[in-house]
């Protein structure tokens, strides 16, 4: 029997294991929406395409499955662009299906025509314009393959509306088998530089480097969790017994209570982590690309260290700083292989007691000499300490994001989610929608700033419509806080266009969306311990059955410290305003 292209798309999605998609309808994609009912694919209507793609990202980030976002041509498709860029930066498996004007109109500047294929070319891992109904099944299968394989990433599949309407005999979804590449290309992809890497003799070299090292450390990024290699990583770190720390996306990969774990590294990392990274003579990197927020001034990054870089994507190597030994491959394979080589080496590793004492010493342990007195940090500590086990915290972008990253101590590899690479404000609320749909029983806490919350505030309607019990916090300092902080520290307090003191009343806005809301002033945090009333308010907020918003009014000029100023070395942290 002949079926429409739209039905083929949906059958192929089901064959890929997709039962939940996020989107927003429009002209060119209407045939797909027309076919949704009875397809087995549940569609979540957001109130903006950016909300849809961030929700799909939230779903993908917390499950590890591919998220799916659907939009129409033209503005619908271009509204996906920020989410596509975000997924590329943070290695999120994502398949975007966009409607396109009908084939005969492509290239004519037709109504709502945009070259989304061209617009997203540099942001996607792979993309296609479907040119025939016969291609649909193959294109979808290949798209999902590339979204999930290797370093995951975003894929765009652009389907002209006439392809969705056309009919053909359909025998079922297909499975994509990647074409073999010449041996040289495979070798390059396997080791990143054409030389032997990821091979046993390479592991022997790393063991030899460890045996000579006096100040080794381990830096953990998102790669281990993306590879599902957390148990293997934790076992290796247990045996290595070296100081370790994590990037913002690596948080949760190492349990915060693990011995010699020093917390987050980088621009707002802990003093202990940054100092250890600055002083190390052997840096083992597990699945992190070492971007500028982690390295500080690249010319002064880990100046005494040799670097061993475990990474699945060769293109991530040597971007900022060359490594001595690349180990390219899936961390789920390379970490156990290296661990085995380390055990088989026979000779034991040096005793790094003295180094551990220095790196993990009490004098470096304090996050921020004044931090604990800061009401916002006190508030976040209270909030996080009252969260149920295995909660998921989704942070937006800005000061509250860094405070949350510093203070939330999750042992769950997917327990802290944020837009780390792109730093896209407005991410948290829609992402929380996706997370909550993926894990209906989990406590999902969305922490946002007053600026970012307003960027996708319309998704309160989605939260209400679905009755999702998302807990939303706005840390309201009535500024674009992080920009203001930089203006204060580096632009002589010229607070150009960062004042948001005329913010709307968020409590009233939430109520207009039929979502309960309450307000807490930072004065409530000046008592220690907090009063019974404040504690009850926070508990009531976290444990209410439905969605709820809590607006935390905080001082406008609170700053995030420690901070490594842009262009400075990690050892040049600032702890307070000069």
């Amino acid at each position: 029997m002949e079926i429409k292209g739209a039905d083929i798309v949906l059958q192929c999605l089901r064959a890929e294991g997709v039962d939940l998609v996020f989107g927003y309808p429009g002209g060119a994609i209407m045939p797909l929406y027309d076919a949704l009912e009875g397809s087995g694919v549940r569609h979540i209507l957001t109130r903006h395409e950016q909300g849809a793609i961030f929700a799909a990202e939230g779903y993908a980030r917390v499950t590890g499955k591919a998220g799916v976002a659907i939009a129409t041509s033209g503005p619908g498709a271009t509204n996906l662009v920020t989410g596509i860029a975000d997924a590329k930066m943070d290695s999120v498996p994502l398949v975007c299906i966009t409607g396109q004007v009908r084939s005969a109109l492509i290239g004519t500047d037709a109504f709502q025509e945009t070259d989304v294929f061209g617009v997203t070319l540099s942001l996607t891992k792979w993309s296609r314009i479907v040119r025939s109904i016969d291609e649909i099944a193959d294109v979808i299968a290949e798209g999902f393959y590339w979204a999930r394989s290797g370093r995951p990433g975003p894929v765009v599949i652009d389907i002209p509306t006439d392809m969705l309407k056309a009919k053909k005999e359909f025998s079922g979804a297909v499975k994509f088998v990647p074409r073999a590449r010449p041996e040289k290309a495979e070798k390059h992809a396997a080791n990143g530089n054409g030389n032997a890497a990821g091979k046993p003799n390479r592991f022997d070299s790393i063991v030899a480097m460890l045996q000579k090292a006096q100040r080794p450390v381990a830096l953990v990024g998102a790669g281990a969790k993306l590879s599902g290699a957390i148990p293997e990583l934790r076992r290796l770190l247990d045996d290595l017994n070296v100081p370790s720390f994590a990037t913002v996306h690596g948080l949760g990969a190492v349990p915060p209570q693990a011995p010699h774990y020093l917390g987050m590294v980088g621009m707002h990392g802990t003093r202990a982590a940054n100092m250890a990274l600055h002083e190390t003579d052997l840096l083992l990197v597990f699945g992190a690309r070492l971007d500028d927020r982690v390295t500080g001034d690249p010319s002064r990054f880990a100046p005494f260290a040799k670097i061993v870089h475990f990474e699945i994507d060769p293109a991530q190597l040597d971007r900022v700083r060359a490594c001595e030994i690349p180990v390219v491959g899936d961390l789920a394979e390379t970490i156990p292989a290296f661990h085995k080589a380390m055990r088989n080496a026979g000779s034991s590793l040096p005793d790094w007691n003295e180094w551990r004492d220095v790196a993990c010493g009490a004098e470096r342990a304090e996050l921020d000499p004044r931090g604990l007195a800061q009401p916002t940090i006190r508030f976040l500590d209270e909030l996080f300490s009252r969260l149920p086990q295995n909660s998921v915290v989704i942070a937006d972008v800005g000061q509250h994001q860094m405070w949350a990253a510093q203070r939330y101590r999750s042992s769950s590899p997917r327990g802290f989610i944020t837009s780390g690479g792109l730093g896209a404000m407005g991410f948290a609320l829609p992402a929380a929608v996706g997370v909550q749909l993926a894990q209906p029983e989990t406590c999902v806490l969305c922490v946002s700033g007053d600026g970012g919350f307003q960027m996708n505030i319309q998704e309160l309607a989605t939260v209400h419509r679905l009755g999702l019990p998302v807990k939303m916090v706005i840390v309201d300092n009535k500024y674009l806080g992080m920009v203001r902080q930089w203006q204060q520290l580096f632009y002589q307090r010229n607070y150009a266009e960062t004042d948001l003191s005329d913010n709307p009343d968020f409590v009233e806005i939430a109520k207009a969306y039929k979502i309960p809301a309450r307000r807490l002033n930072e004065d409530a945090m000046r008592e220690f311990p907090v009063s019974q009333g404040t504690g009850d308010l926070i508990d009531g907020f976290l444990h209410s059955r439905g969605p709820e918003l809590l607006v935390f009014d905080c001082a406008p000029e609170a700053n995030v410290f420690p901070m490594v100023p842009a262009g400075a070395s990690l050892s040049e942290m600032v702890f307070e305003e000069e």
Partner: protein, 110 residues
């Protein structure tokens, strides 16, 4: 100036992804020559690059799904632009009102 020879399967967007790896680094593309060469396609680029960029470009090109081989050649002399070939393309576009079958239109489109 260094020459790069990149073989690729000519699937949608692959050539553009190859070029994008260059343009995103704000490098000039003084010479690009793409052609069909059995069994794949090949594009030859001439670029002014640092050794670090060479490594980055190699890895980024190989990360593109349909790139099958990347090679670099010795330093080349500057590319000769074929002015005769390029000339017709440098003419302004004919206005929409100019019919293709008029003498004027044919001249402009020649």
């Amino acid at each position: 100036m260094q020459a790069f020879y990149i073989r690729y399967r000519n699937t949608q967007g692959t050539l553009m992804r190859i070029l994008n790896a260059v343009s995103r680094r704000a490098l000039d593309l003084p010479s690009v020559h793409a052609e069909a060469t059995e069994p794949d396609h090949q594009v030859t680029l001439q670029l002014e690059v640092t050794p670090k960029q060479v490594g980055q470009l190699f890895r980024e090109w190989y990360a593109i799904a349909d790139v099958t081989d990347v090679q670099t050649g010795a330093e080349l002399h500057s590319a000769k632009v074929n002015v005769e070939l390029a000339a017709p393309w440098n003419l302004p576009h004919p206005p929409a009102s100019v019919a293709g079958n008029t003498e004027e239109g044919n001249v402009i489109r020649a």
